[in-house]
Symmetry: C2
Subunit: 288 residues, 2 copies
């Protein structure tokens, strides 16, 4: 391995945030608040929107040209939809300086890390991450410097990750207030399929059953259960497709549980029904 040009963690001259929406905008706000960088460049496709984010004080400069921004940055954070991250990383890698660090905020990790692994120039480093923080709101107007505070960030080193790069990326996410857990991209995807991606698909399927005649008779339970179905369909389609294998395995597990409950109702098997509902309640209660 060549001599690393990675800098010591804790402060960056220039951080580039690609995708300045709610997630990227909140990250910019957190970086500003904690003075983690001398300068933040925001990159996106929509210059007027970027200029508004700059006027709002979230970013210091804005560029639609990722290559140009990459050439000036020490750390590049991709906050774009998951299906745009690999292309962005490759483009940035072709133009950035030795020692540049890259990470992302995508909800899937396996496909992204595998596609990037081994394809970057020597001494340019990408370490995947998934900050578990978000909001149903969209747009940098709702940016919140505390969005990441006290939340979990999963950092997913892959086989050829540089250990120094991993520790620097982990340190960055800690500096915006997060608790970092490291695991492999595959383990991340298996777990997130169960805790996030399957629940989202299930919520969407439930919301899809709503009819004009039934709408007046929904109560807070239906609203809670379907809340995440209000998420952006393009973002979520990309997540489901980017985590297809684990998603289908997670759906199998959910369907097994549902079949067990349904079967108990069909058979008038009160004992099994009550036992299964109790087990589910007890599991749910461990969350709060």
């Amino acid at each position: 391995m060549p001599q690393s040009s990675l800098k010591s963690p804790g402060h960056f001259d220039t951080i580039c945030i690609v995708g300045v929406g709610l997630i990227g905008g909140s990250l910019a706000a957190a970086v500003k608040q904690r003075q983690l960088a001398a300068r933040i460049i925001g990159v996106g496709r929509n210059l007027p929107r970027l200029q508004s984010a700059q006027q709002a004080g979230l970013i210091d400069d804005c560029l639609v040209d990722l290559s140009a921004a990459a050439a000036e940055s020490d750390l590049i954070v991709f906050c774009t939809p998951v299906d745009k991250i690999v292309t962005g990383v490759r483009e940035a890698a072709a133009h950035c300086r030795p020692g540049t660090l890259m990470t992302d905020g995508g909800s899937t990790k396996g496909a992204i890390c595998a596609a990037v692994s081994g394809s970057l120039p020597a001494d340019v480093h990408f370490v995947g991450a998934h900050p578990l923080a978000g909001s149903e709101k969209q747009g940098f107007e709702h940016a919140n410097a505390d969005l990441y505070q006290d939340r979990i960030c999963v950092v997913t080193p892959h086989n050829d990750s540089d250990p120094t790069a991993v520790s620097q990326v982990s340190a960055f996410w800690r500096q915006v207030g997060m608790t970092v857990i490291e695991m492999s991209p595959e383990e991340h995807d298996n777990i997130l399929a169960e805790t996030s991606h399957v629940p989202h698909l299930v919520a969407s399927a439930l919301a899809a059953t709503l009819r004009d005649e039934t709408r007046p008779l929904t109560s807070s339970g239906f609203r809670d259960t379907t809340r995440i179905a209000a998420g952006d369909e393009h973002l979520w389609a990309a997540i489901f497709q980017g985590n297809k294998t684990a998603m289908l395995a997670g759906l199998d597990q959910f369907e097994t549980q549902l079949r067990e409950l349904r079967g108990a109702i069909e058979r008038d098997d009160t004992e099994t029904l009550v036992q299964s509902l109790r087990a589910a309640r007890v599991k749910r209660e461990t969350l709060e």
Copy 2:
């Protein structure tokens, strides 16, 4: 039909509330606050609990003997689990005075109304109801006089319901602050299967997939989607079993939607996946 002894609506000498938990206790509080009765008798199996509710000022008297309470009441409201209502109505009917009105707060209506229909003495009236209000809290200690305010109450007359009794029961639920919708018990059960019972079973199935390894990586989406799985398993098993046919039909519809979404992921059919997720999002957004 014999000359009705039903009184004019608006005020009752004595209201009996059977089951003084959160639902019954809140009803008692609302009746007190709005001065809808001169006296409230609370009935339950646990005398010390009833005495505590009386000391808390929710009820004026308490009895474990439903027959004795029924003999003194003008209106009896059953706030017990759905599988206890029919037995209670029959016992009360055998001891109450002509003109006594009965209603309930159960989440299923078809089986209850069918079992009661035609089995009561002349001039004793049961009109089923389902106030769509509740809380994840339990016990009269959490009683809230405003629980029913501005919420929907479904009143479900059956074929041989006395029209005066129906209008008086509807008036009562309006007087505690609710908007009353009338429909048949069967229509109620079909709709509530879709808007409440199936979502509850789905939330329980999702909660059941939670594992020790996945718990740290749940986020607010998982919590929202599984919140109602924390409900009491006995209450909900009785609801599912009391609405078995509509419940299974509602599950069929949910499973059809889920299969469509799953199929699009399996086939890498982005267009269908995005369209289906968008349709679900748009339906969800009509709720708020």
